[in-house]
Symmetry: C2
Subunit: 200 residues, 2 copies
């Protein structure tokens, strides 16, 4: 592209670094910024600066946090004997949005994936073991994606945690609520028949 302004060219290149945002979309975003009042741009700058300078990782669960201990780990009304293991902070948000869970979390920061060169030593596992050793834990729930990487990580982790004498469970898998049977994929359908539960 042929930019008449170096400032715009620089901004477009910066925005085009985002995943899923190409030069055309970046141009559209920058063009929007040009037309906005200065205080709106300042707000955007400030929020990026705060991510850079103020955001830390919770020393307990590893979630991104505004302070040394995140709001969830600091909440004494939650059940700290129940730990839900997730891949990243987006999963925490997804589970929190269900309003069904009142335990705490542990963020792995990824999943075991030999293809991407991610091994157990790259994940936040040692701290999870330390948590289980340091305090009483009734149950650890594996809330990992139902993918090859999620299953591998869950299998590896459950063996390590069971060795510590911890009860380990995983999310139930089957037909989605509201999902029509004829559109379910064969693997999910097959597994949900094998893993059928008593009708109550």
């Amino acid at each position: 592209m042929n930019f008449s302004s170096k400032i715009i060219e620089q901004a477009v290149n910066e925005f085009a670094r985002f995943p899923g945002i190409g030069k055309k979309t970046a141009m559209r975003l920058v063009f929007h910024l040009i037309k906005r009042p200065a205080n709106e741009l300042e707000g955007l700058e400030e929020s990026i600066q705060r991510i850079r300078e103020e955001l830390v990782f919770c020393s307990t669960c590893g979630n991104v946090s505004d302070s040394e201990t995140c709001a969830i780990c600091a909440d004494r009304s939650r059940n700290h004997k129940l730990i839900c293991v997730v891949e990243d902070m987006r999963d925490v948000m997804a589970i929190e949005n269900t309003s069904q869970y009142r335990g705490v979390y542990h963020i792995l920061g990824g999943l075991i994936s030999p293809i991407d060169g991610v091994g157990p030593e790259d994940l936040n596992i040692d701290k999870l073991e330390q948590r289980i050793k340091d305090q009483e834990v009734d149950e650890v729930i594996m809330a990992l994606s139902a993918t090859m990487e999620g299953d591998t990580t869950g299998f590896y982790l459950s063996r390590r945690l069971k060795a510590l004498g911890t009860k380990v469970s995983t999310l139930s898998r089957g037909i989605s609520i509201g999902g029509e049977l004829e559109y379910a994929d064969e693997i999910t359908l097959g597994r949900s028949i094998a893993a059928r539960v008593p009708f109550d």
Copy 2:
């Protein structure tokens, strides 16, 4: 959405102000930022700050520019007697990318649109008349969108400019190059028959 961090919540809200970017996409962008090194975030902040503080409008053509006079208006090798009237800077970029035009531009900053409450007085028209009065201009080319608003603006503007004795032309309209006839819409096809040109 249920954010565990105020910093992230603020950033998501800022990014969700962009057109076409909802909360989910904003979350994805912010999540990307969290994982990037500090210098990449600084680069993004700096580029937004430069848009806010350094970007100006060219005093001649009205295009966004790094300096008082934009690179195109400052280029003495271009034909300053040929002015191409466009809606905004994206149109300048589109025309520059064709490498077919060596004249200069005039940016209106919008199109006449009674529905949106945009009248001729909201557009950068007075300065265009002044340019034509101040210097010798051979021709003004209307390069406006082939929409109701573009046609209205072109019609209005050409009457005003012709009153000054200026030659006014408009982009040719018809079947797109590479476009198959059977897929052309009826209006374009009908107009291109009426506006047929000698075969050369």
